[in-house]
């Protein structure tokens, strides 16, 4: 206990952060600070991504969550008595978030990432509840479980939890690490639930813990590796670059688009720059693979053809050296999206185009044009092979069949 209290105090010293506090501080009626803290923590958890439908009332549910096993619908978290969580006790709410147990005792599916929220202290979860209690109650009856048989049998989750849900207990700061690192670890491992997308999953949808943060393909897009790999992780990015990316959606290398746009817009751009930096400090500490593969030779026919495609269609924006234009055009060197083992996002972006996220700090929202129908699959494969093996990049070649699969 002494250890935990000291660690908690250390974490509390971090500037601008809403530190994890013991239960005692939250007792009594929710005050303005508690609600503000709760709102901030809900942003850290990106709760709206699943609980606020497009054009819908805040937290009234209705978002479709696609899983490999079928669909779930994000429930209604407004204080509505009948269809929201208004009638839930605090204990029920905490149990749902930390342990995946519903208010009627049934198992929740890990569409709610309780595997990660498990580490969030009760006091912080109740701050979130205090914030949710201030929302207008919305009558919106959600039947969350849309999974096909047999996955719709909630009881089966008990077995899944045994295998894939180790109960870590509350987040434990590491006294050998800095306050920034601990704050970042707290955010990433818990509310941020970054591993939900960025850690590879096994066939049952559980984390492959041996490959934590090594990247994953989710919903047809790459969630890149976040480990310190020079080739396909964050190795080339400094702490400041990672923090800037989280805060504004853009940095000297990359411009967020697709699913990460949503995370930037609703979560990380709403955290303080200090917290985004803390996340960056933590991520930079994750050791990556040190050996990069050998790049494909520039004389390879696909590389030669790809070089010409690049010069004619890509260089005018991405530059002959693949450096891009900061804040406008992503760099193609030292890019996790480019070098990903299975470059789903890279191919998708070339086929369909993409628009980068707009934040107040970085409103440009530059867009990549679509090349479907302009480049055929062979040409796309060649230029991707070229890009993945130039300027210090090294990654497996791309074939025309792989491109066709993504049409």
């Amino acid at each position: 206990m002494r250890f935990v209290r000291a660690a908690a105090a250390a974490v509390a010293l971090i500037t601008g952060a809403m530190a994890a506090t013991p239960d005692a501080a939250v007792q009594g009626a929710a005050n303005g600070q508690t609600i503000a803290d709760g709102k901030y923590l809900a942003a850290a958890g990106d709760c709206v991504a699943c609980h606020t439908a497009s054009g819908g009332a805040p937290f009234a549910g209705g978002t479709v969550i696609q899983t490999p096993f079928g669909r779930l619908i994000g429930p209604n978290l407004t204080p509505d008595q009948a269809t929201g969580i208004g009638a839930w006790t605090d204990d029920q709410f905490v149990r749902a978030v930390k342990y995946g147990i519903g208010h009627n005792g049934a198992h929740l599916y890990p569409g709610l990432p309780y595997v990660y929220f498990n580490e969030v202290p009760r006091a912080d979860i109740l701050k979130i509840r205090a914030y949710l209690n201030t929302l207008p109650p919305v009558n919106n009856n959600i039947v969350s479980n849309q999974l096909p048989f047999p996955f719709d049998i909630r009881f089966l989750m008990a077995g899944w939890n045994l295998l894939f849900f180790p109960d870590h207990g509350d987040f434990q700061p590491d006294p050998s690490q800095s306050a920034d690192w601990n704050r970042g670890a707290y955010l990433v491992q818990g509310l941020g639930h970054c591993a939900a997308c960025h850690t590879p999953k096994n066939a049952f949808g559980g984390d492959r813990m041996s490959d934590e943060f090594e990247g994953y393909v989710v919903d047809g897009a790459n969630a890149p590796a976040l480990v310190d790999s020079a080739n396909d992780g964050l190795g080339a990015w400094s702490v400041d670059e990672i923090a800037t990316y989280l805060k504004t959606g853009h940095n000297a290398y990359a411009d967020a688009s697709g699913a990460m746009s949503s995370v930037i817009t609703h979560s990380t751009s709403n955290l303080t720059l200090a917290d985004d930096r803390a996340i960056a400090v933590y991520l930079k500490s994750l050791p990556g693979r040190q050996t990069a593969p050998q790049p494909i030779a520039a004389t390879d026919p696909a590389m030669v053809a790809g070089m010409h495609v690049y010069a004619d269609e890509c260089a005018a924006c991405h530059m002959t050296g693949g450096t891009g234009e900061p804040g406008l055009v992503p760099a193609l060197r030292a890019s996790p999206v480019v070098a990903a083992d299975k470059p789903v996002t890279l191919t998708h972006v070339v086929l369909n185009g993409a628009r980068s996220v707009a934040t107040e700090a970085a409103p440009t929202a530059s867009a990549m044009p679509a090349f479907r129908g302009i480049l055929d699959d062979e040409e796309i494969a060649d230029v991707l092979t070229y890009v993945r093996n130039s300027w210090g990049n090294a990654a497996p070649a791309v074939t025309a069949d792989q491109v066709s699969d993504l049409h």
Binding site: H308, R355, E379
Partner: protein, 248 residues
């Protein structure tokens, strides 16, 4: 590690919420039209040679004959018809250009001064049809005795010269104005992007040394008085994109 088939198994129906969250930003700002749609492609369709969509075979033969006098084959380039000029004009006349789509075509029509711009109620399609017929009629019924396409080159040149000078009086058509339009369209068929059916193999661009649809000359702007070495490319014409044969 080989890529394998990483498309299908991972490709679930993308969560609508992701697209929706991005799009809701636009909705918040209150736009009626979407700012950007995935997969948008406004590339004009590649014209395929073969067959005529507007010209009759006789009209096509006349246009080809005109094209070959206006742009004859020589050591600088193939002839106009070999470059696809007739195909180009044919496809244009059955499209928006031929119909004067988008122009102001309200009456009353008056001749106007030359400086007041084109005032004809006839579309290019109508003018081609009428004028080609009148020229052919003139050639067959006059002392030439043959249609324009069957005359020899010198005779054809004489007619073209007269049209250009405004001395070829034809009933019901202005042959000088027609010549100006025909020559303009012929040049287009020689110099426009090959995607429109002319400038086949970029022969027009190769004749003058225009690199075509290239977009980045940053590495060249400072290289004054140096020849530019790269061949032309078109919107859909990139010979270099075919991988070279593998050494065996």
């Amino acid at each position: 590690m080989p890529g394998g088939n990483w498309g299908r198994r991972q490709l679930l129906i993308s969560s609508l919420s992701f697209l929706a969250i991005g799009a809701s930003h636009a909705a918040a700002a209150g736009f009626d039209s979407s700012q950007w749609s995935a997969g948008w492609n406004h590339m004009p369709p590649q014209v395929q040679p073969g067959g005529w969509t507007f010209f009759s075979p006789e009209e096509a033969a006349m246009i080809a004959a005109f094209a070959d006098r206006l742009i004859p084959a020589d050591d600088l380039s193939p002839s106009g018809s070999q470059a696809g000029v007739a195909v180009y004009i044919d496809r244009q006349l059955s499209g928006p250009f031929g119909q004067d789509t988008g122009l102001y075509m309200q009456p009353p029509f008056a001749d106007g001064l030359p400086g007041q711009g084109p005032q004809s109620p006839l579309t290019p399609a109508q003018r081609y049809r009428k004028t080609l017929a009148a020229i052919d009629q003139y050639c067959k019924n006059g002392n030439l005795g043959k249609g324009f396409a069957d005359l020899d080159g010198a005779a054809q040149d004489k007619i073209i010269t007269a049209m250009e000078a405004g001395t070829l009086a034809l009933p019901g058509v202005n042959s000088k104005a027609f010549f100006q339009m025909l020559w303009q369209n012929t040049k287009e068929g020689f110099f426009a992007d090959p995607i429109y059916g002319g400038n086949v193999n970029m022969v027009g661009w190769k004749m003058i040394g225009f690199p075509g649809a290239r977009y980045d000359y940053r590495d060249w702007i400072d290289r004054h008085n140096e020849p530019f070495p790269l061949p032309p490319i078109g919107l859909a014409d990139h010979p270099d994109w075919t991988p070279p044969p593998t050494q065996s």
